[in-house]
Amino acid sequence: MIPVALKQRRRLPRDLIAWALGRRRLFKVQGESMAPQLRPGDLVLVDLRTAARPGSIAVSRHPVKPGTTVIKRVLSRGEHTVWLGSDDPLVGTDSRHFGSVPDRLVYGPVRQIWRRHSPPNA
């Protein structure tokens, strides 16, 4: 289990405490549309108390398909909405297809990305 960025390592104690207090939520990445930063199977810890800013990766409820959760990059912000995009626009479905997403559907920005450390012969 290795954090992929140094910046998030400094935040780790704070995020773990916040997680214990119910202010963070854990999600698992499926799919390739956020590659190379996120790979299928990666775990992400999401900040439930902060609004996602443009540039950050956020987890949101799908605005059209109830019960589906999506992980995308926030490209811009409206008054009460965000515009979500895929890092690989050829692979993903995002705001180009489902439009802008109301703030209330967004869980929040990703604070920690954890990837499984696979042994070389696995």
Partner: protein
């Protein structure tokens, strides 16, 4: 050991999808249109700003703050407009379309150039031209789909 913790956490985590959950190949010039409208709106607001009396420091700060925000949004939305147009141009349109619309490349090239002008300048004329070009692309796009879709503006 870390891998074991990882696997335990992984079992409990909610799945968040980063893949194509709808039929891929869904395109719509509306996303370029919305961003283009924002560019035009910010351009108009910038042109309508009147500087306050320079001796009023507080009003000056407010004025510069508002202007900076308008500029930032205009630049950002111009970039988005260009990117959305390029997606249509490079991913949606195929050689057979070009045969039917020989000036397709020119239209997109002009549209992309207008995005740049609107980003750099504060020109109502170029913002209007950008919207007119996006409307042209909207017309061609829906014609290739054999559908009639009315050009409607979010900003009215």
């Amino acid at each position: 050991m870390l891998n074991q913790i990882f696997d335990k956490l992984s079992d409990k985590a909610t799945e968040a999808e980063a893949h194509c959950d709808g039929p891929c190949g869904i395109y719509d010039p509306a996303s370029a249109r919305v961003a283009g409208e924002a560019v035009r709106s910010m351009t108009k607001k910038l042109l309508a700003l009147t500087p306050p009396d320079s001796s009023d420091a507080e009003a000056m700060v407010r004025y510069h703050n508002t202007m900076s925000r308008y500029i930032a949004i205009k630049e950002e939305q111009a970039e988005i407009t260009k990117r959305e147009l390029l997606i249509l141009w490079t991913d949606y349109f195929k050689p057979p379309h070009l045969a039917k619309y020989p000036d397709l490349h020119t239209i997109f090239w002009e549209a992309a150039k207008l995005c740049s002008s609107c980003k750099v300048e504060v020109s109502a004329q170029h913002a209007d031209e950008l919207m007119a070009t996006i409307e042209k692309i909207h017309g061609i796009f829906w014609e290739t789909k054999g559908r009639e879709v009315t050009w409607t503006l979010a900003g009215g």
